[in-house]
């Protein structure tokens, strides 16, 4: 069966620096693939290339066989790819619920004139937007429910902000979720919750997930496959055990001496 998301020979160079070099990567439907690598390996750049925030110099990004390279980012999102950000990028001055509702823009069609005159389609879509947002937020349990809906996003705790960002991403009705370090800055309890949540996203939500993560416990627990990157090049791929013990991966993280002493 063809993979849902496929990167073929994807590459980009900034000035003299090749950030990503001819990357081939596949993610099958309902798979959870983790992208690991030391800092500066180009992992976030890969997400930027997929979502269109950065234009690749070469290669293709195929979603269900369709090439997304060259499309405007909002169109790529509308085709079915959504992401979260390494350093959170919520709409801080909007409420929790509005953050999620805003992301439903791409799936609704009422024109501005219809909104001004409150024509039937606009009113109906507005009701649907509200309902869907509540549903998306309910996915995260009690944390983002009830009174929380009307609180401004800047009043949320760090962990809740990360959850909100994931909720917002799911509101775009994606097929593929790209999560950029979802467990960053979390304590062990929260990390465990996030790992469970990601699993739930795949099992109950049916999403296909590509995530970047540094916390190896998370990677080990939930990944179906792991891909390791260093200096923009794929250096290993396989199950967690295979990749974690791969000498090139160890060297990338810990330096040459580590492989020698191992």
């Amino acid at each position: 069966m063809a993979p849902l998301l496929e990167l073929r020979g994807l590459g980009v160079t900034f000035g003299g620096l090749t950030a990503v070099d001819s990357l081939d990567l596949t993610v099958d439907e309902h798979e959870i693939v983790s992208l690991i690598g030391p800092n500066g390996a180009g992992k976030t750049t890969v997400l930027n290339l997929i979502t269109g925030a950065t234009r690749p110099d070469r290669g293709q990004v195929l979603l269900g066989g369709e090439n997304l390279v060259g499309l405007a980012p909002h169109r790529i999102t509308q085709r079915g790819i959504a992401r979260t950000f390494q350093s959170l990028r919520l709409f801080l001055n909007m409420t929790v619920k509005e953050n999620v509702m805003a992301a439903e823009y791409g799936r609704t069609h009422a024109t501005i004139v219809e909104q001004m005159l409150q024509l039937p389609r606009a009113r109906r879509e507005e009701r649907e937007i509200h309902a869907f947002a509540e549903e998306r937020l309910a996915f995260f349990g009690e944390r983002l429910m009830g009174y929380r809906w009307n609180q401004p996003a800047y009043s949320l705790s760090y962990a809740n902000r990360r959850r909100l960002e994931i909720a917002r991403a799911t509101a775009t009705r994606p097929r593929v979720l790209l999560l950029d370090e979802p467990a960053a800055g979390m304590n062990p309890v929260e990390t465990h919750e996030i790992a469970e949540l990601i699993g739930k996203l795949r099992d109950d939500g049916g999403y296909t997930i590509l995530l970047i993560e540094h916390d190896m416990h998370v990677v080990e627990t939930i990944s179906d496959r792991v891909v390791a990157l260093d200096h923009g090049v794929k250096i290993a791929e396989g199950s967690f055990d295979e990749v974690a013990t791969d000498p090139r991966v160890v060297e990338a993280y810990l330096g040459t001496k580590a492989t020698v002493t191992k």
């Binding site: 979502t51 925030a53 405007a72 980012p73 909002h74 999102t77 509308q78 959504a82 992401r83 950000f85 990028r89 919520l90 709409f91 801080l92 001055n93 909007m94 509005e98 953050n99 509702m101 805003a102 992301a103 439903e104 823009y105 791409g106 799936r107 609704t108 009422a110 501005i112 909104q115 001004m116 005159l117 409150q118 606009a122 879509e125 507005e126 937007i129 009690e142 009830g146 009174y147 401004p152 800047y154 917002r168 991403a169 509101a171 775009t172």
Partner: protein, 504 residues
């Protein structure tokens, strides 16, 4: 949402358990809302449904011609409503979408001129109102799209620059458009009437009835238009477009990646704002029966910006209030006697609001009075003529009688035969001195600041009485500049805006 069950053997909780949902849920009760009279007003405003507020406002304004027959007051009201319309239109691009549109007034002027071209004796087209007004509004919206196109490739600062260029282009064209000849390759056309503008513009004609009862008719037209526009805009703001604009204001990149077409939304915001300005432009042309280039210069843009920011950019009701406050203020400043009230009222309110505790306030006020009296006595002994001046009541009338005049003459140093004869030297020195003192006050800390505050206020009062009070055309922009500077430094959210959190 109940508190978690206590662990067996544990003491029952006696203090707030921070983080527990019950505590958080009731956090709303502990929020310290905006304080004082303004805060109470805001809370009341937030509790009332928006359409009630709108209906009350429209009702009150429309009733003005019934409550008074003073044409001056009705005229000020009509002007104010035009400003309200402009502020509301600017709010769409600047307040809701967060775009810095410095060319906004060009839309206003374009619409006014286009209406004047279509419905006047200039080309002898006398298009009926129901044709020209919608066409002008549509054309202005189109112009909005065109002008915003550069924004597709530009961001923030660059957009501000390009929109400012458009305003300059527009001003250049209207001023010199009486001799337009395609650089020598065509006949010469008089398109804009040049510096004298276009006159003999038709009034509005609705349902066969010509609106010639100025200003009352146009007050009603402007207010009615405002009501409709406010309703339409509120509906948009509460729908997906409004949310997308707010998302765009907070984080354009994230908005784009969440499926919102940021470039299109920017075009839309500018175009909608332009449409509102377009309507205001037609009303302006019909009301004043003429259009002139000097109306649509940069100072008008600044005025609208002050209104929007003072009122609270991002809040439709807020900017409307801002427009009213600023325009009424500027009107009041025209007459020296009224301007005087405004100044001293503002000083008192400022002191009351900012100087705490009460003892300190009393001390400052007492020191202020004492300082003035002492200086007055000293100067009076050395230079008698220096304290014998009169206070200004009108453009050319001065008086030494009356309670206020006597107080001021014994508190300030008002030299006779100087500013009354339009010799503003004393006032100029006082003005410069006051600025220096204001800066010193800002830089000082602790008790030194309160001590310096006394001569600062005194100097400001002296400058006010001996020069500023009589030079309304200069004081208007001066005051607007000061309001902007002070607002941005102390309260960027204005009166009714929400304080924003920004990731820098």
């Amino acid at each position: 949402m109940s508190a978690p069950a206590p662990t067996p053997g544990a003491e029952p909780a006696t203090s707030p358990q921070i983080g527990v949902d019950e505590w958080v849920r009731r956090s709303g009760e502990r929020i310290v809302g905006p304080a004082g009279a303004l805060g109470a007003l805001r809370r009341a405003a937030e509790r009332t449904p928006w359409y009630v507020l709108l209906a009350v406002f429209v009702g009150l304004v429309s009733a003005i011609p019934e409550l008074t027959s003073n044409q001056y007051i009705i005229g000020v009201a009509a002007d104010t409503m035009l400003y309200v319309l402009l502020a509301v239109g600017l709010n769409v691009a600047v307040g809701w979408a967060g775009l810095l549109d410095l060319g906004y007034i060009a839309f206003y002027g374009f619409a006014a001129y286009l209406y004047a071209e279509l419905s006047s004796g200039h080309y002898n087209l006398h298009w009926p109102t129901w044709q020209s007004v919608p066409l002008v509004i549509a054309a202005t919206i189109l112009l909005g799209f065109v002008l915003a196109l550069p924004s597709r490739r530009l961001s923030g600062d660059y957009l501000a620059i390009v929109t400012l260029f458009f305003l300059e282009i527009f001003n250049n064209f209207t001023n010199n458009g009486y001799a337009w000849n395609w650089l020598g390759f065509g006949a010469t056309h008089n398109i804009t009437g040049g510096p004298t503008g276009l006159t003999n513009v038709d009034p509005f004609r609705v349902f066969g009835h010509e609106l010639t009862n100025r200003p009352t008719d146009y007050l009603w037209v402007a207010t009615g238009g405002f009501a409709v526009i406010a309703v339409l805009l509120t509906f948009v703001n509460r729908s997906r477009t409004g949310r997308a604009w707010r998302a765009l204001r907070d984080d354009p990149l994230a908005a784009e990646l969440m499926g919102m077409p940021v470039k299109w939304l920017m075009l839309l915001a500018v175009a909608v704002g332009a449409g509102v300005a377009g309507f205001a432009g037609t009303v302006n042309a019909a009301y004043y029966q003429g259009v002139f280039p000097t109306t649509f210069y940069f100072p008008l843009l600044i005025t609208i910006y002050v209104m929007a920011i003072l009122g609270g950019a991002g809040s439709l009701g807020g900017v409307a209030v801002g427009a009213i406050v600023v325009n009424v203020l500027l009107e009041v400043l025209r007459t020296p006697n009224h301007a005087r009230w405004v100044f001293y009222a503002a000083v008192l309110i400022g002191l009351l609001a900012k100087v705490r505790p009460w003892r300190l306030l009393a001390g400052v006020l007492a020191g202020l009075v004492a300082f003035g009296v002492v200086v007055n006595q000293v100067v009076g002994a050395v230079w008698p003529r220096g304290v014998h001046g009169a206070i200004a009541m009108g453009p050319t009338s001065f008086t030494t009688h009356g309670f206020f005049a006597t107080c001021l003459r014994h508190w300030l140093v008002l030299p006779a035969h100087t500013y009354e004869a339009s010799n503003y030297q004393i006032g100029n020195y006082a003005f410069v001195l006051t600025i220096a003192l204001v800066l010193a006050c800002t830089a000082a800390t602790g008790w030194k600041r309160w001590v310096l505050l006394v001569p600062t206020i005194w100097g400001a009062a002296l400058a006010w009485e001996t020069t500023l009070i009589e030079q309304a055309p200069t004081v208007r922009p001066l005051l607007l500049g000061v309001i902007l500077i002070v607002l941005m430094a102390t309260r960027p959210a204005g009166l009714f805006g929400k304080t924003r959190v920004e990731v820098v």
